[in-house]
């Protein structure tokens, strides 16, 4: 059948290893390794499985600093055929709307795709918004929180999707955007052949002109949201201890519940 599959991915700091500067309340990024967003790994693995099942080609796309090329290179060693990186100062500081605009412009420029896969969210921002927002810009259907692809046909795809208290099986047309939760399979590791053959392929860098983007709609300029303030979460290192004898502790504990609206009935 030969599907054209696009996987969009983000390089993120390993949030498990991020530390906070206790005085300034800012992130200490230094020494924190950068990784491929775990949900994007799942999306890539799913793309590789679809490719194995029905044939096709995989393109990977990312936006970020030049170093984000690493995750695209990794994808090439696993069997992606093409890789594009949106990397220009104009793209920096983008919120989800500006990111989605930029990515949708890039997609319109680089090719026509049957399936467009995203991780459901990135672990640094945790918004889960870019996939659906890109789908709206491209006027394509979107299925979020996909856990598995059950069947791929010429004009449609059948997927399983996780919802709040259950699951659904959805039939979506081709082309569609899918956002992927953690897959059953972990992302495979590259073979020697895969690594060697990836040397022939390059990561193509794209700027605003290459994708016909209006720079007023990219990066910080194109972002309607602003960060007003960043602070460390209350409670971290600021535990208040409930003390006294058992009766006092108990009474104070119940007061806390009441105050938080958690003491009902």
């Amino acid at each position: 059948m030969g599907l054209e599959i696009l996987v969009c991915m983000k390089q993120v700091p390993d949030t498990q290893k991020v530390k906070i500067d206790p005085e300034r309340g800012t992130l200490i990024r230094k020494g924190v390794p950068s990784i491929m967003n775990p949900f994007d790994e799942s999306a890539l693995e799913l793309a590789l499985e679809i490719k194995e099942a029905v044939g096709g080609r995989i393109t990977v796309l990312s936006m970020g600093i030049p170093d984000a090329e690493c995750i695209l290179r990794d994808s090439l060693t696993l069997g992606a055929e093409k890789a594009y990186l949106l990397t220009k100062g104009d793209f920096a500081g983008a919120d989800t709307l500006a990111t989605s605009y930029t990515i949708s412009r890039a997609i319109k420029t680089i090719g026509k795709y049957d399936l467009l896969l995203f991780g459901k969210q990135a672990i640094d921002g945790d918004t889960a918004q870019v996939g659906p927002e890109v789908s709206a810009y491209l006027d394509l259907p979107v299925v979020t929180f996909v856990s598995d692809v059950i069947k791929v046909e010429k004009r449609s795809v059948v997927v399983e999707r996780m919802i709040d208290n259950g699951k659904q099986v959805i039939k979506a047309p081709i082309p569609s955007v899918l956002t992927v939760v953690k897959a059953r399979q972990r992302l495979r590791i590259p073979t020697i052949d895969g690594i060697v053959s990836s040397f022939e392929r390059n990561v193509v860098r794209l700027g605003p002109d290459d994708i016909g983007a209006d720079i007023k709609r990219c990066g910080l300029k194109g972002s309607p949201t602003r960060v007003k303030k960043i602070f460390s979460p209350e409670g971290k290192g600021s535990t208040s201890y409930i003390e006294g004898n058992l009766e006092q502790m108990s009474a104070e504990f119940i007061d806390v519940l009441k105050h938080k609206g958690l003491y009902r009935r």
Binding site: V143, I163, D164, I230, S240, S250, L262
Partner: protein, 340 residues
Amino acid sequence: MASNGEVWVYAEHDWNKLQDIGIELLSKGRELADELGVKLASVIIGDKVTRHATILFEHGADKVYACEGSKLDNYDTAKYAKVLTDLTGQYKPQVVLFGASARGRDLAPRVASKLRVGLTADCTDLQIGDFKAPDGTEYKKILYQIRPAFGGNIIATIVNPNTRPQMATVREGVMPPPPSKKGKKGEIVKAIIKMQNLPNLTSILHREKTEKKVNLKASRIIVSGGYGVGSKENFAIIRNLASVLGAEVGASRAAVDAGFIEKDHQVGQTGTTVRPALYIACGISGSVQHRAGMDQSAKIVAINNDPEAPIFSIAHYGIIGDLNEVIPMLIEDIKKRRVE
């Protein structure tokens, strides 16, 4: 860009029932609307949904926008997003809130990008305040959207100074539900949408509701026990505390591995990730793996006899003591107050 638009809350419903989140959000919505001096409205989309209006009025909505039609029977991203985008364009609310449920996080971004406005995900608090932009422009009474980022390592306050509506999804269980006023009435606005213009893109082939025996994710309160509970038999005191609080029972991996309780209850990196309104950790030392699964809880209480236990570093409230004494006391106290 001052706006006297209303505050809207999207009312989610499924299996013919209003979901808690859409009602819960009315309490915060009420607060915001009062501060802005505007009306609070619920928006409900579906087939024969106007009948839910009474509950929404009784929980604080002044108005209910109802968009009904048999084509809207089951939730569908593209259709519901089209309806909401059209309604927003027509009535121009200044704030639109959604639950940060699978549904809300599916629908809100689709609407936001169509309207070309900002959207803040998974907020844990909302406030009204002023904002001074770096260029000196001052914005009065805009929405502060407060949310965790970087895996809960930081909290950020986000604003949308220039675009309207200001949109956010809000985490479930972090805001107390509004009081209900029996008999309170409001205005129903029947929204008229041209059904033939609704896109028909995806279809649901099958849906199933999983009735989980242990529903950690949906619980507002979780009482968790760790290795410190000591034995399978002694886990009864964790269950008893959960029962009087109307809470679900959680456990650390150490407790599960020791055979004190079934794996369905496990919270943490290899178990379930939870973020209830209240998490009570009893006899749990608080390994990194356990903390990763619960540190985004709105309020954390730790009960442990070891003052050095790492769990205290992320707890909002700590009780240093023997859980075998503290918990029975709590249970008795709660029961006693209930009788009074």
